[in-house]
């Protein structure tokens, strides 16, 4: 493959557009001709698979009425085909695969986070209004007294169980399940009871027993109007009419409790609400505007913990960077003496905390700090009972100690490198001028070091700002604030608070959690912007 250099380039100024164009076309042909048939085969096969999957996906999506997503899938597929089947578009060929993932799982989810922040998404509000109406009617059902007994047979079609019902008055057969109301069907009768229907498999007794729970959950609407009630079975051979104590009036958009007479209205908050403010849950998802942000800043039981957590987040991130940097720098200076032997071995040991998986370190330290059985209290402090992780202040100190353990090796590596990149003659010049070792460090080495390390300190700050694992695994954010209405504690940082609001405990408030996420996005963005401008200024100074 070694060729002598070929003088192919013409002086640029002599090229006219026409030659240029021809040149490019020639290049394209060469490109096409050189692509081996193997590459072509792989490409075609991959495209064929992608297209087949996309067609399938679009069909499924269309069947479940997800037209927007179906459209997006179709568009992306067309774009992919265009990119890989058109000659040229070379950069796009290389960028497309990564970009698709980036667009869906990073950019889209950020946009989606913004959307959720403006809704009441969370436990009790997690689906559409229709779903909520059905769920409400279903959960408030009770068996109608003196209602007729409907002989039934459990049948199955495509893995979905349905009830084959014989109408006790007319003797006609009807079939239906939770999704589809009763419909007449041609059936085979035995002793006045329908036992099999065309296209359905009749379940045997053993199968009914095996699927008891699922069959018990079937509630077949007797008609399109959910107020007419549902058929439910407990034994798999007879069903009863259940009606809801709630009456749904689609025209007036109200739910009426037929027993108490209370009327619940849709007042735009995502749940049917009575005049006295009681809500019927589940509700549904509605856009609530900036409500979540307003709540975060005004509602006392949220604002208090939120502000405490935000302040601690800044303190924690700042102290983490400061302590690890100081220790790392100190050790770098100590071990940077060429006269010292076996520095290599010390260095390897000091990288160990860095190589150990971080999530494990936090858990191990949680054990060491345990109040009753931990090594620190039991052995080092001779059986003391110091509440390392239970006292708000001590827990914060414990977190900083553990983070020092985790983070100083990185700072040590970084500062060692930075120190060694400072040329010796700078030090020498200082020494000739009569500066002491400390003066040389303070006025010459340290500023130079800071220039190269400052960006790393900023990204370290940003990292610690969202250092979820350490906080969550070591203290779980605890000890918990007593007067908070959200799940937050003294050592929680913003990100761990968001996680707890969204996923820990019974109450999940996705809307509020997303609003907090947005606030963190903004904070991190502003801090990075300001600090990067600062470091640029620092660089220009030197």
């Amino acid at each position: 493959m070694t060729l002598p250099p070929v003088e192919t380039d013409l002086p640029t100024e002599r090229r006219d557009p026409a030659t240029d164009k021809r040149h490019r076309r020639a290049e394209r042909y060469a490109e096409a001709a050189s692509a081996g048939w193997k590459v072509w085969l792989v490409k075609t096969a991959a495209l064929a698979i992608i297209d087949a999957a996309a067609v399938y996906a679009t069909m499924v999506l269309a069947a479940s009425d997800q037209w927007v997503i179906a459209g997006i899938v179709a568009l992306v597929t067309v774009a992919v085909n265009v990119v890989y089947l058109t000659p040229g578009l070379l950069p796009a060929k290389y960028l497309t695969p990564g970009l698709i993932f980036l667009l869906v799982f990073q950019i889209f989810v950020i946009g989606y986070t913004v959307y959720i922040a403006f809704t009441n998404y969370g436990s009790g509000h997690n689906s559409s209004k229709d779903d909520a109406v059905n769920a409400l009617l279903l959960q408030s059902q009770s068996r109608l007294e003196d209602s007729a007994t409907y002989p039934i047979t459990v049948v199955e079609q495509n893995g979905v169980f349905s009830l084959l019902v014989t109408d006790p008055e007319t003797g006609d057969a009807e079939v239906g399940n939770s999704e589809a109301p009763l419909e007449p069907v041609d059936a085979e009768f035995s002793g006045g009871k329908a036992i099999a229907a065309e296209g359905y498999n009749t379940l045997q007794f053993a199968q009914v027993i095996a699927n008891q729970k699922e069959i018990g959950a079937i509630a077949v609407p007797v008609s399109d109007d959910p107020n007419d009630g549902y058929l439910r079975t407990t034994d798999g051979s007879s069903a009863y009419l259940f009606t809801s104590s709630l009456q749904w009036d689609p025209d007036a958009d109200t739910m009426t409790d037929s027993r108490t007479g209370v009327v619940y209205r849709d007042i735009g908050t995502g749940a049917f609400t009575a005049d006295d403010g009681t809500e019927l849950l589940p509700g549904w998802v509605v856009t609530v505007g900036v409500d979540n942000f307003v709540r975060a800043f005004t509602e006392e039981s949220i604002r208090g913990p939120f502000i405490a957590v935000a302040i601690w987040t800044f303190v924690f991130a700042f102290l983490s960077v400061a302590t690890t940097f100081v220790l790392g720098l100190f050790l770098a200076i100590v071990f940077n003496d060429p006269r010292m032997k076996s520095r290599k071995y010390y260095r390897v040991i000091m990288i160990l905390p860095y190589a150990f998986p971080a999530f494990l370190s936090a858990l191990v330290w949680a054990g060491l700090f345990n109040q009753d059985f931990g090594f620190i209290n039991q052995v080092l402090l001779g059986g003391a009972s110091i509440p390392w992780l239970q006292d708000p202040l001590l827990a914060k100190i414990a977190i900083l100690i553990v983070n020092l353990w985790l983070g100083f090796p990185y700072m040590f590596l970084v500062t060692t490198g930075a120190l060694q990149s400072i040329p010796d003659d700078v030090t020498e010049a200082g020494r000739v001028d009569g500066a002491s070792v400390w003066q040389i460090f303070r006025y010459i080495k340290f500023p130079l070091l800071l220039v190269s390390v400052a960006p790393l300190l900023i990204s370290s700050f940003a990292f610690n700002f969202n250092n979820f694992n350490l906080i969550y695994m070591l203290t779980g954010g605890g000890p918990r604030f007593a007067d908070a209405s959200i799940n937050a504690g003294a050592t929680d940082i913003l990100i761990s608070m968001v996680y707890k609001v969204a996923f820990v405990g019974q109450l999940r408030d996705f809307g509020l959690a997303s609003a907090f996420s947005i606030i963190i996005f903004v904070l991190v963005g502003v801090i990075s912007y300001i600090s990067f401008r600062q470091t640029k200024a620092l660089e220009e100074l030197n």
Binding site: M1, L3, V6, E31, S34, A35, S64, Q66, L90, P91, Y94, L95, G98, L102, F105, Q106, V109, I110, Y112, T113, I116, T324, L331, V334, F335, D337, R339, M340, Y346, V348, M350, L352, P353, F356, P357, A358, L360, L363, V364, W365, G367, V379, W405, L406, G407, P409, Y410, V414, T416, G417, L456, N466, F468, N469, G476, I495, Y499, A502, A513, F521
Partner: protein, 325 residues
Amino acid sequence: MALDSTALTGGTGPEVARALSEDAAAGRADDSGRRGARTPRRPFGVWFRQTGWRHLIGIVMLVFCAFPLLYVLSAALNPGGTLLTANGLFRTFSLESFTRLFENPTQPFAAWFVNSMVIGLATAIGTVFLGALAAYSFSRMRFTGRRIGLLSLLLVQMFPQLLAFVAIFLLMSTIADIFPAIGLNTQVGLIMVYLGGALGVNTYLMYGFFNTVPMSIDEAAKIDGAGHARIFFTIILRLVAPILAVVGLLSFIATLNDFVIASVVLVDTDKQTLAVGLYRLVSEETAANWSLFAAGAVLSAILPMALFLALQRYIVGGLTAGSVK
């Protein structure tokens, strides 16, 4: 890579890489330094003032660094041990905890381990591949939007995926309703989420390295009749192997360390990863399960630590070559 590489304590990808490269520089200086140190014996007082006290600090740091690791090892070798018995360091020696680790079906350690490895490896490979493709185009081709593309990658990186986990959860559960095979509670789904972060920091890291491979190599190959795909797969990828190893390793470790997204996407116990599984193991019954947890921790940490320490030289060598230009 998902979550960018920040799951490594203290910094994002380039910084880590830079730190490693500087460590190599340090290593080189080390050798020359030691040669200079072969001076005649010094009196103890002089020796202590010059270097002796440094060893004292070194020993203190050794204890601080290594103690928690030795403690875990000792706890793992203490069968049926609780937190309390773990305090008697290395008083017993038995591998019972390791065998018990694989026996309890409600704590399927083997499944967690396999899951973590599969997800970590798949994510690492995918990240390296996607990142290398993008870095190649940014490094070798000139096209409209190139500068903006590079800049926006940097910008997107400022908004970590980690913060959008609520949206990821809701998106994945919507997907699960329609395509259960790639939605919530599937490993494929989790890997796809991680690959959302494959560009960004990694592209930058690779881009810088790709630029150090001279263009003349590409041109020579082109004259020989090689197409762009062949140049990329057979020439460039081999020349940039060190940076691929770095990105792969960082991505693997970041994936292994991720708790938030893994815990949100994977629901069933036997589908979870080591981070989620081991956390649940100790958070539920801290005192009783301690030796089990320790055994699990030792097994989970061996591979990443070995990789990190073994590949360090290789990685560092490649990186310094890249940064020196």
